[in-house]
Amino acid sequence: MTESYPRFNVSDRIEHWVQSVSFTVLAITGLVQKWPELGLTDTIINWLGGIETTRLIHHVAAAVLLFAVIYHIGTAGYRLYVLRQGKLIYPSMRDAWAAIHAVGYNLGLRQEPPKEGHFTFAEKAEYLAVVWGTAVMAITGFMMWNPIATTALLPGQFIPAAKAAHGGEAILAVLAIIVWHIYHVHIKSFNKSMFNGSITRHEMEEEHARELALIESGEAEAPLPPVTVVEKRRKIFMPVYALVAIVLLGGVYLFLTYEQTAIVTITPPEQVQIYQPAPTTTTLP
């Protein structure tokens, strides 16, 4: 019998896939701009229909990711404020010890793996990396997208600095996904929870032993508040979030449309009469 343990609801899964698709599109359309000399860049940009289209796709994907961020602020806010589930995701010293424990276990110094809760230290680290990375990319992306608005407040140097950070953070993010995410979720064992929403008992035993033990003893890592309390907080949270979401959506709209950075026509660099015979001209010898 294969028991399954619910992990991600439909909303979480949609969020994840919207984010992963936009992330992948951003990574591809961004890295080709970082390395325009590469042979692979040629193939990709050509396939996408040129650099201007590539940039347009990058911007559309950025907007999609920002919408996912605003949605996530809602779901995360609901979990933290209304359901008080913060304990599940906040990193703690226990996670640091779990990481050290895991090293010891893999080196053969400890007989048992660390017993982890709903989110492992590896998952919490990845979540924090995504939060940090998205914030850096959004801020530096805004600066490059709106350099005139940025330099109205900040020194001009912030634009190339933003570009350096955007490119560096992109490499960091892509490598982290390849090394950390792909290994932990797909190679170590194929985790299907983002497809079907749940994980197997075997996976629970191996990765979330503490959570499993709590479930079996009828407890919860972060117990849900009583329904009446949930209802009360919901009534406060929903309008606040609606307001925040409207402000943030307005922010995204500004992000996308704030300035017309450059004219789209070409100003002739020189105004000169092209045909102007020399004052003393002899047309034939």
């Binding site: 090293v103 330099t151 350096a164 290994y183 020189e270 000169v272």
Partner: protein, 398 residues
Amino acid sequence: MSHIIIGGEQFGERMNRRVGLIVGLLVIGGVVAASGAAPGSASQVDQSAQLAAAVQAAVSTGTMVHADVISTDNKTCFACHKGTGLTYEFPSGESVPATIDEDKWLASEHGHQDMACVQCHTGISRYPHEATATDLRSFVVNESKVCVECHEEQATMVADSVHAKARAEGNQNAATCSDCHDPHYAVNPPVSRTEVPATCRECHSAIYDLYEQSVHGEALTTGNPDVPTCTDCHGVHEIQGPDNSPFRLFSPEICASCHADKELMAKYDISTSVFNTYVSDFHGTTVLLFEKFAPDQQTDKPVCIDCHGVHDIIPPNDPRSTVFEGNLLATCQRCHPDAETNFPAAWLGHYEPDPHKWPLVFYVALFYKILIPTVIGVMLLFVLLDVFGRIRRRRQHD
């Protein structure tokens, strides 16, 4: 009807010796043609004597002899055309000097090659010469059509030029072969590099005036061959202009052909990283990608000349330069009309980010140079340890 004008007076008004000579030539031409002798044959040895006789005959009888074919012998032509003060008048009223300096002709490349006048002046078969054109300009254009007979390679290149394009669009002023290459006196190589601007100036004097004041033009006119002359950027026969997308798009490569040349730039203490720093920036990256994928399309991103100026380009430390620090904002505003004071510093001015000039950019880049290997290194370490642990435990289990 066109007329040969001699000494400023119309033919027939004064029957001088020279005219008699021409009539004589025509007689000879007729005789040669009628007898079927090959043009330019050995009979020319006796030409002078025959000529004199024919002239006498013509003058005494007062007849005008029209020949069907004029001899292809250059002497025949020179008999008249080395005479000083000859001019030719077109029906339009324009006139052109028709005197050819025989010594200079013989010293020219065409003279060296024993070219016959009528090889190029094909429309002439009698005297008075047929009117091959109604005006001077169409005469020049028509006569140049014959150059392709010998100079096919150059003519093919010219066919792709901005001049050929302009003429195809009906612009008769567009330069043709003989506008640049004097067909009678040109030597080989036809035009030296330092002479090129003077040649182009014939039609592009306003551009020449700008070029003459530029850092390049100033150096060239004082005899420095290191600097670009017109043809170095625009090409020689397949001359390209700014209305041509690939020309504008690829122009940074033209600049780079000198400005990325370490040896050449060292002589003038000019940085050779200008091209690389341009390409690594947003503008240059875009232009590079357009070059690759859409060479026939324009991009609104600037190339070198958009900021530095075109023909009047001057060093960036010259206060008149468009890229002089105090003028940068105005230059940026040409494409970024809303740009404010801080905006120009968003462009690193062709400098690699260094801790003194651009500390923020330098340290952000440095931060990621450290952060990326550290984070990814730690991740790899954990992953490899996990792989190692799993293999070890499996072995123990077995």
